[in-house]
Amino acid sequence: MSMFKIVEKEHFSENVVKLVVEAPMIAQSRRPGHFVIVRTGEGGERIPLTIADADLKRGTITLVIQAIGESTRKICALETGDCLTDIVGPLGQATHIEKVGTVVCCGGGVGVAPLLPIIKAMKEAGNRVVSILAARTSELIILEKEVAEFSDEVIFMTDDGSKGQKGLVTAGVEAVIEREKVDLVVAIGPAVMMKFVALTTKKHDVPTMVSLNTIMVDGTGMCGACRVTVDGKTKFVCIDGPEFDAHKVDFDEMIMRLKAYN
């Protein structure tokens, strides 16, 4: 009876998969920044995934998953026609979108997927959008075309220099801030990347927003597994977030807590 049927699957790279899944109710209520909790199989774990896109006509949502553990590997192994056992959402607070001027959107690895709806919405709100896509190597850059469609400029940063400039995302951010007035930075990617983007923009006093992907169980505020310290106070990523002021997040604690089950 499951209605969460996979209607399209695309391999972005060996370990990164895009799934377009039937979830009409979520498709119509989701906004940029929202996430869902997904479960695969009867003994499946509940894991949070950010929504990359939605198609109202088809009643679908798009998820981008990187196989890093047991549960994500199971999801990535599903094929078109298969069903996800459970999807619940949209959860979390939607991104606050307004016209602020110039917005730099930094995406690291699969973080580009949840960044895409924010890029779109920021552009539609009338902002100048400069997107910086960063990855270890060129094959791991995803959604390049889609990002370019809604950005005034796209900068690529790779660790090995195989695409764009060689270097970390922070170098790209720094370069843009030095050449023009930046009003907002949005960074989504691995925790350590967001930490260093936050440190960089703090130096220049540019407001910065990050979307955190912590361990969760229910995703509705019930368990507290996702708690992070923001501005000295404990917050729940699932209901208070997932987006927070990057300059106030205790990234070291967050990175430590991500290793709870490693």
Binding site: G43, D86, G221, A225
Partner: protein
């Protein structure tokens, strides 16, 4: 099947005159068979095994069938207690079960988890005679279990009750005890009822919170199947206020909404080190194990294990957590509670079971800081020793720190069970809804109606953190009031 509550019915008069009060009161209260503590701490089997039929009939014989039964007053859902007990005495167990179902959607659950010693049994006439009260809870459980086993053994097909449908649609938010109780009453009144659940399983706290050894899932499942057979529609994976908005519920044609979304938000103490790895809420710990099956073969969800586990708090959830820790293989499991054993809010039976199983009780102790190893994993807690001072607002003697009495205690897993706050999802999603300072939905105490005309609410989202039976009582009252209101509008 005659479920008549008339005390003057012929069979009841005959039953009463069959034995004298003296003969009845001379029977000792039944002792419920329990699994050996040494065996049960290594298993998930239910601790209380339930009365045999002979035991139940004998226990039912103790009940004096009082002319003015006070036990009913002590029951939040006003079960016709003497009627069901006398049906057990005369051997009409299935009728007894039907009597229970008239007022309680979940008798097999209530018979297990209700604090009867504070409710029905506390009002029993036997207390006045300085004797142990009639074991109403054990009898409730017996009748409900008997019915369930009878249905299973005889492959009886459950059918909806023959009520004429009134064509009106009701949405229920949350499938815990308040929501199920409300749904059960409304379906019997002829409404179309849909229950929305955020999780992937129906049952709310009965599934994610209360452990198998106290409330087996098959018992909960059977009660839910009963409601399903009556025609209640269940939708899982759906968060009202997120997946479907309040306005959309109207577009879907709902005439009334009952919010029973529970006490979703675990409280922490706000002390240094509380976010170290290995410190989690009781909600997280119990959800991982009860709902997600962590530690069982074929289940992907992990849970941290500890050799020395401290559970902070003294309520039923704390007892559930500490006893779960023992079953997860911890060598030492302790309760850390800031008052004394006497003030502990947990049921006496749960404390007793925990003691039998070897749980250590560190009372008059309050954690003030956690310490971790270089990887951020908790390794010790600092506790402040307390002594009891003057009574506080709750009437309990309040704990006061003993100056300088701070100890460091080695622990590798800490479960924080110091209460929950109401889940903010619904209050956030419906800004017009009147919310108390504590974050609970404000309702009229009689009707359970909120500040919005078609929204009623009950259970922990209104109470902030109470019991299964109080939540069920809310569901019943809300159903009665909503029905009255909708019928009035209809005319």
């Amino acid at each position: 099947m005659n479920t008549d509550n008339n005390r003057d019915a012929k069979w009841r008069e005959e039953l009463r005159s069959a034995l004298s009060a003296k003969e009845r009161t001379s029977i000792p209260r039944a002792v419920i068979p329990q699994l050996d503590p040494k065996f049960r701490v290594h298993s998930n089997h239910e601790v209380n095994q339930g009365l045999s039929q002979a035991q139940a009939v004998l226990e039912a014989t103790r009940c004096l069938d009082c002319p003015d039964p006070q036990c009913i007053q002590g029951c939040p859902v006003s079960i016709a207690i003497p009627t069901f007990i006398k049906n057990i005495e005369r051997g009409e167990i299935l009728t007894a079960a039907k009597v229970l179902k008239q007022t309680s959607a979940l008798p097999a659950v209530c018979g297990r988890v209700c604090p009867q010693e504070k409710q029905c049994e506390s009002r029993c006439i036997y207390n006045k005679m300085k004797k142990q009260p009639v074991a109403i809870g054990y009898l409730e459980r017996f009748a409900a279990d008997f019915e369930r086993e009878n249905i299973k053994a005889n492959n009886i097909e459950l059918r909806p009750s023959a009520v004429e449908k009134n064509g009106m649609n009701i949405a229920v938010v949350g499938s815990g005890p308040a929501g199920l109780s409300f749904a059960g009453d409304m379906i019997k009144k002829g409404y179309n009822v849909t229950v929305y659940e955020a999780l992937h399983e129906i049952g709310g706290v009965l599934k994610y919170g209360i452990p198998e050894f106290r409330l087996p899932n098959v018992v909960v499942e059977a009660e839910i199947d009963g409601l399903r057979a009556e025609g209640v529609n269940f939708v899982k994976d759906c968060v009202i206020g997120k997946t479907i908005s309040y306005d959309q519920l109207h577009q879907l044609g709902y005439d009334g909404i009952f919010v029973a979304s529970g006490a979703g938000l675990p409280r922490f103490m706000g002390i240094p080190g509380e976010n170290f790895i290995g410190i989690m809420s009781a909600n997280e710990y119990l959800t991982r194990i009860n709902l997600m099956g962590a530690g069982r073969p074929g289940e992907d969800t992990p849970v941290l294990k500890g050799n020395r586990v401290a559970v902070i708090g003294g309520g039923n959830t704390a007892m559930d957590s500490v006893r779960t820790a023992l079953r997860q293989g911890s060598k030492t499991a302790m309760i850390v509670y800031r008052r004394s054993l006497e003030e502990m809010p947990a049921r006496v039976e749960e404390v007793h079971h925990a003691q039998e199983e070897g749980v250590e009780f560190m009372t008059l102790c309050n954690p003030i800081e956690y310490l971790a190893d270089e990887k951020g994993r908790v390794r010790a807690m600092k506790v402040q020793r307390m002594e009891l001072g003057e009574p506080d607002a709750s009437g309990r003697r309040s704990p006061v720190p003993i100056e300088g009495a701070i100890e460091e205690i080695e622990v590798d897993l800490v479960i924080v069970s110091v209460g929950v706050s109401p889940n903010p999802l619904i209050p956030n999603a419906i800004p017009e809804l009147e919310i108390s300072r504590r974050g609970t939905i404000v309702v009229n105490e009689e009707s359970m109606r909120s500040s919005i005309y078609d929204i009623y609410a009950g259970g922990d989202i209104v109470r902030g953190g109470a019991t299964v039976i109080l939540a069920m009582g809310d569901g019943r009252r809300a159903a009665a009031a909503m029905d009255k209101e909708l019928m009035k509008q209809e005319k």
